[in-house]
């Protein structure tokens, strides 16, 4: 089992979800996050006072998958989120030792889908 974490541009969320659905990956947790990377911030102006916003809004997806779904998940996220510009985001894949469904107590691959 793997735990896939993706940081993407907020406006790409719908497209990424659509691509994931196409590959029958339905379970996903989404959060609003702020962060920074090479893209740098966007300056804002408040009554002529310039603010260099150094943190940008992003969306974080968290998806737990069985081995067979790791590559399809990555492909779907890239297909949905890539624009070719700086700031498209990153995907992190980490090992997932355990997964438990709260309702039934099932463990492992059974519980993940």
């Amino acid at each position: 089992m793997k735990y896939v974490i993706a940081i993407i541009q907020p406006d790409r969320l719908d497209e990424v979800l659509r691509r994931l659905t196409e590959k029958e990956i339905h379970l996903v947790t989404v959060s609003n996050v702020v962060g920074r990377g090479r893209q740098k911030g966007i300056a804002a102006v408040y009554r002529s006072h310039k603010e260099m916003g150094n943190l940008l809004r992003k969306v974080k997806l968290e998806i737990a998958v069985n081995e067979a779904f790791v590559q399809p998940t990555i492909d779907a996220i890239i297909a949905g989120a890539r624009s070719g510009e700086i700031g498209d985001g990153k995907i992190f894949v980490i090992d997932l030792p355990r997964c438990i469904r709260i309702r039934t107590g099932e463990e492992g691959g059974e519980a993940i889908g």
Partner: protein
């Protein structure tokens, strides 16, 4: 700075109407005593407009709370709302107990009213004896003026937001209302007040409310010192939609503030209403254009700031200028405060958190002086002609009244701040400022993270 007093043609119309109506209305009750004198007459149209206007002006203080509340950081929004609410409570009581009497009571040397009307003694359902508003109950005039007395100290909050102790704020507001607002209101509007006698024009409170509070805001910023991290470590406004909501409520309430100051429901109120709206619209537009020209994009905060500055500047002039005059005043109302918040604040380095001085002080001073430029007796025969109507002397009177009020407010406000500092302290601790005033001063949080 005279409130327009009804006389001539209008008076006779009201008198005629009263003569015609009153006998008919009271005939059954008076049947046994046909010779009894008619009671003093109030005009129901004027009275209902003034009561409605008082309610409109009341709404401006919660409106101001949201305007300011949206501009502070998340951790301090409740503290600003609380300060506005406390002004509404504490100054209202002050006004009913003795503030109204100090401002509008029988004159003592042109400087202050006496305490003859303490606890509203003698302030009743008949028109006031001083002739402030001859067609409405004295109580209606009093409650209308109360709302002005409440919002004026609340305006100063913008200068010391996010760092003042709540008890110090409450004591300051009470002292300031008593020592600064009440005398200045008496000079300008009170029967026998010396600025009124000098012929200064202030239709709805440009001097009494905005210069007075705006200059006190400068004193506040100087007395309090800067917030930790100012200027670069301060986060931007936490909720601009709140600020827009607040500005909208202010704009709406301002019709009561200015058109209500006609103290009658007729032509002059309509003229003031139109001038008020025209100046606000002009200044909002011009501020957006300035932002577009100098920062490449028009900003929401800029536009609402311009609207408020336009409303501030038209306040002293509302009942004395034509709609074209209002456009002229509105342009200056955007340009001068824009320059103040862009250059002056940065150059001088004071931390007027929400630009109470930049908007109300500078906008108020411009409005008072501009009244001396655009005023014309063709709009209000009880007013005066200004510079453009061939009377440069009025401009000089306006400048003198501005200077006298500004200097008085600056010095007295600073002294009151220092007194309060001496006895209770002004600033919260560094820890409280860092954690936020909502949690440390009020034990509440405006926003929860879950549910």
């Amino acid at each position: 700075m005279k409130r327009p007093i009804m006389h001539g043609r209008r008076m006779s119309r009201v008198a005629l109407a009263a003569c015609a109506l009153i006998p008919a209305m009271i005939a059954p009750a008076m049947a046994g005593d046909p010779a009894a004198p008619a009671p003093p007459s109030t005009n129901s149209g004027d009275t209902s407009w003034l009561l409605m206007s008082a309610a409109l002006v009341m709404l401006m203080t919660p409106g101001l709370a949201f305007f300011y509340g949206g501009l502070v950081r998340k951790k301090n929004v409740l503290s600003v709302l609380m300060q506005c609410l406390m002004a509404l409570c504490v100054v209202s009581l002050q006004w009913v107990l003795f503030g109204y009497s100090l401002a509008f009571g029988p004159d003592k040397g042109g400087f202050i009213g006496g305490l003859e009307w303490f606890g509203l003694a003698g302030v009743g359902q008949d028109p006031d004896p001083a002739g402030y508003a001859p067609t409405v109950p004295h109580l209606a005039f009093m409650i209308f003026q109360l709302m002005f007395a409440v919002i004026t100290p609340a305006l100063i909050i913008g200068a010391f937001a996010e760092r003042m102790k709540f008890a110090a704020y409450t004591i300051f507001s009470l002292l300031w209302a008593t020592i600064v607002y009440d005398p200045v209101a008496h000079w300008v509007w009170g029967s026998g007040g010396f600025l009124r006698a000098m012929g200064a024009l202030d239709f709805a409170g440009g001097t009494v409310v905005h210069i007075n509070a705006g200059v006190a805001a400068l004193a506040a910023a100087l007395a309090m010192g800067r917030r930790q991290g100012f200027p670069d470590g301060i986060s931007p406004p936490h909720h601009l939609p709140f600020a827009v909501l607040g500005a909208g409520l202010l704009w709406f309430g301002w019709f009561g503030f200015n058109a209500g100051s006609a103290l009658s429901a007729a032509g002059l109120a309509s003229s003031a209403f139109v001038a008020t709206h025209t100046a606000a619209a002009t200044a909002g537009l011009v501020w957006a254009l300035l932002d577009r020209a100098f920062h490449k994009k028009p900003t929401t905060l800029g536009m609402i700031t311009g609207v408020v500055a336009g409303l501030v500047s038209i306040t002293p002039a509302a009942g004395f200028v034509t709609p074209m005059g209002a456009i002229g005043i509105g342009i200056g109302a955007a340009v001068l405060p824009w320059c103040a918040v862009t250059f002056l604040k940065t150059r001088l380095g004071y931390d007027d958190s929400l630009d109470a001085f930049g908007v109300h002080g500078i906008g108020g001073i411009w409005g008072a002086i501009a009244t001396g430029i655009w005023a014309t007796r063709s709009v209000n025969p009880n007013g005066a002609d200004g510079l453009l109507a061939g009377n440069p002397a009025q401009l000089w009177i306006q400048i003198k009244a501005t200077a006298i009020t500004g200097i008085y407010s600056l010095i007295l406000s600073f002294v009151i701040f220092k007194l309060v500092e001496r006895f209770v302290g002004l600033r919260v601790t560094e820890h409280e400022e860092r954690v936020g005033l909502d949690l440390t001063l009020h034990k509440e949080a405006a926003y929860t993270i879950v549910d």
